[in-house]
């Protein structure tokens, strides 16, 4: 026991312990964790102390003669009741903290968190802002071909931004399988269940960058969907929201203008490769070869090479395929990105159809028209 509790206590000091976090709740959770840990250590030292005393002192080799006692109702009752009372002592603070944690009433701000394979999507209820948040560590880093950054696997392209000192409510759901949104510093971990909405909340005390990960096995890239939250003072947060809402508004207007534009092949291919690598390559693989029996190949596939299947191709990218892991990318990507990625899939890896697909065509399929 000493052998194990020694490293345990040392590890705590070295930062190998539960985080105290940056919210009142996470601090309470930490205190609860430490209280119960110390109670366990105390009971362990006592019980194993008695046991090792017997092991050392009551050996046959030391001439120990066995006693004959083998039952005692008094003792049995005592060591049933005492642990029970210790448990009651633990249950009271645990219940108080739990009731606080589950009280999601009167939020100042609501964010909808949607998990999907393998990324998070955030939508602010009270502002016109929504975006996806994807892993920012490169495949080269994962394959050990490039130096890993300090924040390897805990970094995203677009972090969630929240104000400090205000109660933020999360509405958590999923588009496909079960995910779980976990930020240790807030002591928030809540499953994202497809078709259902879960609630959680936090009130961050300190500005800073806080990182977490998906906590529920959600398929192949479960280990590659981190969460990054930047907590800003209220004024900075307000400025960020306005700026982002404006930028997203502009982007939507840009979309409409694009409909009359013809993009050249090389531009489509360059953007298409970028989109493909970040959104499609994880399943259909970098060379479009797919994974037999799991994810279909695109290289040489009929749908990506036959001119008369173009509409089907756009349709499946835009609307997904029900009952499979193929998601609807229509709501996730801009018309330009969709056009580029379909073009790329029809011309890369020897598919060479020579066709370019334009934003207007994507828009037509999106609105359910014929091409």
């Amino acid at each position: 026991m000493a052998l194990l509790s020694g490293p345990a206590l040392a590890a705590e000091r070295e930062g190998w312990n539960l985080t105290q976090g940056v919210t009142a709740i996470s601090q309470q959770v930490y205190d609860l964790h430490m209280t119960i840990f110390y109670i366990c250590v105390a009971i362990g030292v006592l019980v194993f102390g008695v046991m090792f005393w017997a092991i050392i002192r009551h050996r046959k080799s030391k001439g120990a003669k066995p006693a004959s006692f083998h039952e005692s109702t008094k003792v049995e009752i005592a060591w049933t009741l005492v642990p029970f009372l210790i448990l009651v002592g633990m249950a009271i603070p645990a219940t108080q903290v739990l009731l606080d944690m589950e009280d999601t009433s009167e939020p100042a701000l609501t964010v909808q968190v949607t998990g999907s394979q393998w990324k998070w999507h955030y939508r602010y209820f009270d502002h016109d802002v929504a975006f996806f948040s994807l892993l920012a560590s490169s495949p080269e880093q994962i394959r050990n071909e490039r130096q890993k950054r300090d924040t390897y696997l805990l970094e995203v392209d677009q972090p969630l931004v929240l104000p400090v000192g205000r109660k933020v409510r999360f509405l958590i759901t999923s588009q496909d399988v079960i995910h779980s949104w976990w930020v240790p510093a807030f002591a928030v971990k809540k499953d994202a269940n497809p078709g259902f909405i879960n609630e959680a909340w936090t009130k961050i005390d300190k500005p800073g960058i806080y990182r977490g990960q998906c906590a529920e096995l959600c398929g192949k890239d479960h280990g590659f969907m981190p969460i990054v939250v930047i907590a800003k003072p209220q004024a900075e947060f307000d400025a960020w929201v306005q700026e982002t809402a404006l930028a997203q508004q502009k982007a939507r207007e840009e979309e409409q203008r694009l409909l009359d534009m013809e993009m050249p092949m090389d531009e489509l291919m360059a953007l298409g490769k970028q989109v493909y690598d970040s959104r499609c390559g994880m399943c259909h693989q970098s060379e479009g070869q797919g994974m037999p029996g799991v994810f279909p190949a695109l290289a040489g596939a009929e749908i990506a090479t036959q001119p008369d299947r173009l509409v089907d191709h756009i349709d499946i990218v835009v609307n997904g395929k029900a009952g499979t892991a193929m998601q609807a990318f229509g709501p996730q990507l801009s018309l330009k990105e969709l056009a580029a990625v379909v073009t790329y899939e029809r011309n890369a890896w020897g598919n060479d159809t020579g066709e370019t697909v334009q934003a207007a065509q994507i828009n037509a399929v999106k609105s359910g028209e014929d091409l």
Binding site: M1, V29, W79, K189, N198
Partner: protein, 533 residues
């Protein structure tokens, strides 16, 4: 009793098949017990090999050896093989060998079903392992196979996985029926319930748990099958179902299941500790009541695996309190073992070493279990390596160590030879040190925020993962020593006495070593044997 002479007493067995057919057709509880144990150890090595793949990939950050999809197949099949292929068949093998001998019965009550319940197992695992080689790979959704990952998003081999699980379940149910019928009907005259050895008691209770929950697992697996292949929507909200329903059904099976994998251990430890303390087990009747309480409570705690799914507060509180309660009877058992050792006359043969390691390490697993029971803190522990550490402490240094202890304790009875004590001690010390290097640091990985079931991790976890992996390889290799000891012991060695352990108690020590092919064809006279406990 017919008037037979000893010479033709066994006349009806002169035509026993020889060679392989002896094993295929056998209805003898000792043969079937041996087959279960050999099968279980084979599966233990196979599941261990998969764990080695996992630990090799996690030795350093980044992806080196396997693709994430294959990594998930390894974690899934490792779990399934260890639970259904290693631990459960090992206990069934021990029950087959020991229960009839402990209660003074000639054999199991249903010998032909006994043969059948063993022989369907290898086919179940051939199906499961074979699915790994299918196009698209084997099951990759975790041994808990949560929907919809196991339905809409699962590989084509899922049907095979479900079928394999059904066969394992049928085997377990038949084994459990056999144990219950044997214990209730075939005890020697005078062997009252409260005189039965605790191993028999714990197995009786375990058998009831098995019959209660294996059909529930079958239900969950069948719903997954129909959701995937026949268009039902049990777990799909779009069709009126609920993915969390799956978890409720699964864990209603799953929590009693984890006690199925530990209650027989309690029985084994309750036999070994008194034997090497040369003192009767302390608090026999409270041990029986504690086991029954744990079994009863196991049906009221399933949702503690699901605190983060968004349950109502009332449900969270109910499951937290019930789960905390379990530590009371579990504590009573540990105190009783310690009290048994107290003022005994202790020696430290290998079975006792494993039993002492069991008590210490299982209790540490119990402590982390109590921490996990506290709902608000469980939100931080859930689905991290803290959980992985917890259940490996209770299953490896708990269940598996108790099986090792049992094997060493009864090997002389099974083979008629004493094993190589020196090698066995090497096996113990290598195992007990490496198992802690392997699993103890996992607590801290979890507390520091490393999720379970990931093939790659953030850089701050690198050093500890390297240590854990080294412990893993060491623990895996240590088990080969056990293999050598058992093979040597089966082939020869110093002849074992009928009662090779000075303080051992119970009917199994009244027959010669090795135990004759048929024992207790006439019931033993219990007056000659002291109380069974």
């Amino acid at each position: 009793m017919t008037d037979t002479t000893p010479d033709n007493l066994h006349g009806d067995h002169h035509h026993k098949p020889r060679g392989i057919m002896r094993w295929v057709l056998t209805t003898n509880h000792k043969d079937i017990g041996s087959m279960y144990l050999i099968f279980s150890f084979t599966m233990f090595l196979l599941g261990g090999a998969m764990a080695m793949v996992i630990r090799a990939e996690l030795f350093q950050p980044g992806l080196q050896l396997v693709e994430p999809n294959f990594f998930n197949q390894m974690t899934t099949v490792h779990g399934l093989i260890m639970v259904f292929g290693a631990v459960m068949p090992a206990f069934t093998g021990l029950a087959n060998w020991m229960v009839p001998m402990m209660i003074g019965a000639p054999d199991m009550a249903l010998p032909r079903m006994n043969n059948w319940s063993f022989w369907i197992l290898p086919f179940a695992f051939l199906l499961l392992i074979g699915s790994l080689f299918m196009e698209g790979g084997g099951p990759n959704f975790g041994w808990t196979f949560y929907a919809p990952l196991s339905t809409t998003y699962s590989p084509d081999s899922t049907g095979l996985f479900v079928f394999a699980l059904h066969i394992m379940g049928i085997s377990s149910i038949m084994g459990a029926i056999n144990v219950i019928v044997t214990i209730t009907n075939m005890r020697a005259p005078g062997m009252t319930y409260m005189k039965m050895p605790l191993f028999v008691w714990t197995w009786l209770i375990t058998a009831f748990l098995l019959i209660a929950v294996m059909p529930v697992l079958a239900g969950a697996a069948t719903m997954v099958l129909t959701d995937k292949y026949f268009g039902t929507s049990f777990f799909d909200a779009a069709g009126g179902g609920d993915p969390v329903l799956f978890q409720h059904i699964f864990w209603f099976f799953g929590h009693p299941e984890v006690y199925i994998m530990i209650l027989p251990s309690f029985g084994i430890i309750s036999a070994i500790v008194p034997a090497f303390s040369r003192k009767r087990l302390f608090g026999y009747s409270s041990m029986v009541y504690a086991t029954a309480s744990i079994a009863g409570l196991s049906f009221l705690v399933w949702a503690h695996h699901m605190f983060t799914t968004g349950m109502p507060v009332f449900a969270e509180l109910f499951f937290m309190f019930c789960t905390m309660l379990i530590s009371v009877p579990t504590g009573v058992k540990v105190f009783n073992w310690v009290a048994t050792m107290w003022r005994g006359s202790l020696t430290f043969e290998v079975p006792m070493l494993f039993a002492i390691a069991f008590i210490v390490l299982f209790t540490i697993g119990g402590f982390s279990g109590l921490m996990l029971a506290i709902t608000p803190v469980d939100f931080q522990y859930h689905d991290t390596y803290f959980v992985v550490a917890h259940f490996h402490y209770v299953l490896v240094s708990g269940a598996v160590f108790s099986i090792m202890a049992a094997a060493y304790y009864w090997l002389p009875k099974w083979t008629g030879h004493m094993f190589n004590e020196t090698l066995a001690k090497w096996h113990f010390w290598c195992s007990v040190i490496s198992v802690n290097v392997l699993f103890f640091p996992m607590h801290f990985l979890g507390l520091a925020g490393m999720p379970r079931r990931i093939p790659d991790y953030a850089l701050q976890f690198a050093d500890v993962n390297a240590i854990v992996s080294i412990g893993g390889f060491a623990f895996g290799l240590s088990q080969l020593i056990f293999l050598v000891v058992v093979i040597q012991c089966a082939r020869g060695g110093a002849p074992a006495a009928a009662k090779p352990w000075e303080g051992a108690e119970g009917l199994e020590w009244t027959v010669p070593s090795p135990a004759p092919y048929h024992t207790f064809e006439t019931p033993p006279d219990l007056k000659e044997v002291r109380d069974g406990h």
